[in-house]
Symmetry: C2
Subunit: 121 residues, 2 copies
Amino acid sequence: MGTASSYDDLLQRVQFGADGLVPVIARDVADGEVLMLAYMNRDTLEQTLRTRLMTYWSRSRGEVWVKGATSGHYQHVLAARVDCDADALLFDVRQDGGAACHTGRRSCFFEEVPLETASAP
Amino acid sequence: MGTASSYDDLLQRVQFGADGLVPVIARDVADGEVLMLAYMNRDTLEQTLRTRLMTYWSRSRGEVWVKGATSGHYQHVLAARVDCDADALLFDVRQDGGAACHTGRRSCFFEEVPLETASAP
């Protein structure tokens, strides 16, 4: 068990990168499945903690991205964790609609790389 | 089920950031616990797939980081996945020594942020 951090303390301690972003993992609270990895800036992290809805910074669109605002597939925040270096976050979420991925799949990590096909060095 | 990718195909398709790095999630194959998030460049990704030992690029030290080389807590690769945008990776690993974190804890995400202490907007 780690030291409990307040919400404001977290916002101060998180190490955002040179681009102002921190990587965030969203995990399904139902069974721990990793759903996606995306990014937040300080404002969208604050908005996420306040609204309890996962709110990312879309790097491709350059805008605030309330996950589910278009698709209805909101991610409701049930728990938040910060890593030992405070430069990555892990959220337990309840995923609406059964799909985090824009392809309609549950997880964005649906493509397995068959290791057995690795070429010899 | 996604389209199967060969190892060489993966190395070509992964989108590395402006800093040449891609974020990587290591997950314990035993129960799916998220252990850590770190980074790989193209060379350490290739080394990881070839050696089946998680090999990161240490941003703080600016060097190749074979996880476990110092601590003995190697991470053995059992599966690799790429996300829908090919800009994040998820590895299932067998974690030696029962701890991924340099603090001796199993996961680097040991610190929970108590949401109930969130201040009102």
